[in-house]
Amino acid sequence: MANPKTSMQRRSFLKATAIVGGGLMINFSWLPSFGQINNNKTGLPEDWIEINGFIKITPDNVIKILNPNPDFGQNVMTSLPMIVAEELDADWKNVVVEMAPHNTKLGPQFTGGSNSVRMYWKPLREAGATARYMLMQAAAQNWNVPVEEITTKASILYHKKSGKSATYGSVATKAATLPVPKNVKLKDVNDFKIVGHSQENVEGLKIVTGASLFGMDYKQEGMQIAMIEHPPAFGKKLKSFDASETLKMPGITNVFSLKLYEDGFEQGGFDTRSFNDLLVVVGKTTWEVMNARKKLNAIWENAGDTKDTISGRSGKTEVVVPGTLESTSKQLEKMQEYASKPAQLLRKDGDPETAFKNAAQIIERTYTAPFLAHNCMEPMNFFAHVTDEKALLVGPLQAPGWIQPTLAKILNLPADKIEIQMTRMGGGFGRRAYGHYLTEAALISKKINAPVKLVYTREDDMTYGIYRPMYTATYRAALDANKNLIAFHVKGGGIPEHPVHANRFPAGAVENYLAEGWQISSNITIGAFRAPRSNFNAAAEQSFLDELAEAMGKDPIDFRLELLKKAKETPVGKNNDYNAERYAAVLQLVKEKSGWGKPENKKYSRGVAAYFCHNSYAAHVVDMVMKDGQPYVERVFSAIDCGIVINPDAATNMVQGAVVDGIGNAFYGGLTHIDGAVQQTNFHQYRMIRMNESPKKIDVSFVDNDIDPTGLGEPPFPPVFGAVANALYKLEGKRNYKQPFGVQLLTPRAF
């Protein structure tokens, strides 16, 4: 561990207070650098964000750790408290974990960007270590011995010389009266007893017994159910409606239209919403509202071009949202047209133009991928109870700190009068970083002056989304007469943003390099989707590198390793944002674990890919066969470098899940439009990977190192697409340039 002492680069302070009725509570606040997730659209402040959490120790020796970040399946409810418990030397069996509510002092409490463990690693260690030291001091005073002679194990303090021992709980009240020590020594990584050792999900039993955990499950006395009827197509808006038939339906209490943002409202980076004029139906039960919606008589009209006011760090800008009713076929044509126009220069090394002119061979390939819907298993929903004085909101959400200022503005309430509680989330994948559905719920509650839960049906969730953008990229490589790679060019575009990460591999490994980007504006709303942009780049770039290796007569792993050797030893250009050594290490590890090139694996069509994103490195080897006449990924080998792994079995689960997610989206993922209307409305049309299509084995290996954790939710996902594409080529003998690689559903399946 590079820095075993508490870090002073961070303005960090801890506060101890006694609990009424006895015990110690440690509050901690710190202001860590938040640079990593601070890229363009996040809307986060540039420099420091205050975060805070607490540990509670009660006299019965139960330790309660409040988990700051909401859990959407990445298991932070378990892994973050493990970090505290490790340094505290707590008995994990007697640790109780609770989800923290949103607290304005807690910062964004953001779940996303593979950020939770990375962000909390040091602060949570410091908090645990400090609490432990205070307990040791309290025991030392009680026993009148030097603090250095006190040892701890599983929530018990020991003084070996005198044979004395005491529980943490028994000295917690005294510890709370002591001044908070500074620079408490942290444990050596080799001494970890909890971190690095698999612990069961703390919510496992609740989940398998059907306990109320999710937003959909939340209920309050007098709560009504609301649903939103949104325009049937992007580019449409509400003209008029007749609700008389709906209001006659049983249980229906209210139908009204609602404007989400008034004209000129300054949207923050995560205030994206699909439609502004909404038709709301409120009633007593979910089914009654679902049913009554069918009786609505709404007239929709073309919205025409509209304006959004976006408030960013560079000030206020007005963005024109085109009113076109978009169709996928036209979008593809338009992308082709834009791809041939000049684009924005993103990076240039050497003289790529001359290199291409002098090339003996040029290989050029274009890749495209569709919009993707997040399709969280739990559709969007949120509870709201808004009064003139305050607002309570409860539900599933990834980033309470981003929506709270919006709610304060829209409800005209001070931020501290808005309480946001976070439930467990039935998936997130980026979708729940966009809190417009809280605003919708809050405005509905305000209007009806009652507690309400806004529920999206699956159809609402799928057709009213904040999708992964539609992307394309053309890759070009120049080879000399000896088949050496002399120039590399990527020109990427998308609707409505381009995907190119100009400083990523193979930038830095090729003498002449050019990266360009272009974008087409659209009224189809887009946002973060598990490893934004990377989830397309890894598919396209890793397929292209595979094809290049083949053209050069090289093994695809050796070819990548050669490029990475060059990037490490004689890097080209500046700002290469990856570590070539760590990148190469995951490729070497997956090569070894998969038995790459070994004759016993010949029966498989194998594809390899590797990628770096969100600070971590991932490589996969995908083994494909034909099953029932369809390509089937039977086995996958994955090698990951995400630094220290907190909870190995849960981390393995997450990588396995990312692999299945990647295979599913590579084969089946796709959202298309005709005249602005989404063509897939439910799982009978939007094909999701199922049990019989998921691999029999996913073998996950982590690089063993002492690097502070760098994040895991996203990095294993993108390279799956590339590895699948490359294996599919081996299986079918032809390259696939267009996602999805499989077929969508035509008719509902019967189960």
Binding site: D71, F72, G73, S198, E200, N201, E203, G204, L205, I207, V208, T209, G210, L213, F214, M216, K219, I225, P250, T285, T286, W287, M290, C376, M377, E378, R424, M425, G426, G427, G428, F429, T457, R458, D649, A650, N653, M654, Q656, G657, A658, V659, V660, D661, G664, N682, F683, H684, M688, I689, R690, M691, N692, S694, K696, K697, P748, R749, A750, F751
Partner: protein
């Protein structure tokens, strides 16, 4: 008034007989273990047992459950110790957890009918349950572990 037998208890509930069982469970009876995922019998998050058979409660009218025995995840075992629930915990199957009650309820019927399910049996029985987090491998292993434990009388 409709009378239902759910998890060995009797409930009287005043709902339209056309209402899907799912919404009666969730909205009227506070049994929220069965989940809404699609409303179209495509995802399996809402699976409950009707006289021991797995049904998709989102498309099962409550009237169909009258005079029948309904079991939901809350009633699968008294202490959360059904062999599948234990295997799910032991193998740390869940990620977000939203689909898992439906997965377990589908698997419970398979396990009752087939004491030693193969991969193909599991594929067939579980193809109607979507897991967006991609925990299928662990679900498969957990079903096999539960079957093994059941055979051993654990």
């Amino acid at each position: 008034m409709i009378t239902l037998n759910i998890n060995k208890k009797t409930y009287d509930v005043d709902v339209d007989p056309e209402t899907p069982l799912l919404w009666v469970l969730r909205d009227n009876l506070n049994l929220v273990g069965a989940k809404y995922g699609c409303g179209l019998a495509q995802c399996g998050a809402c699976v409950v047992h009707l006289n021991g058979e797995a049904v998709r409660s989102c498309v099962t009218k409550v009237s169909r459950a009258v005079g029948q025995k309904v079991v939901t995840i809350e009633g699968l075992s008294e202490k959360g110790d059904h062999p599948l629930q234990k295997a799910w915990i032991e193998l740390d199957v869940v990620q977000c957890g939203y689909c898992q009650a439906g997965q377990i309820m589908s698997a419970a019927v398979l396990l009752r009918e087939n004491k030693n399910p193969t991969d193909a049996d599991i594929d067939d029985a579980m193809a109607g349950n979507i897991c967006r987090c991609g925990t299928y491998l662990r679900i498969r292993h957990a079903i096999k572990l539960a079957a093994e434990n059941q055979r051993k009388g654990k």
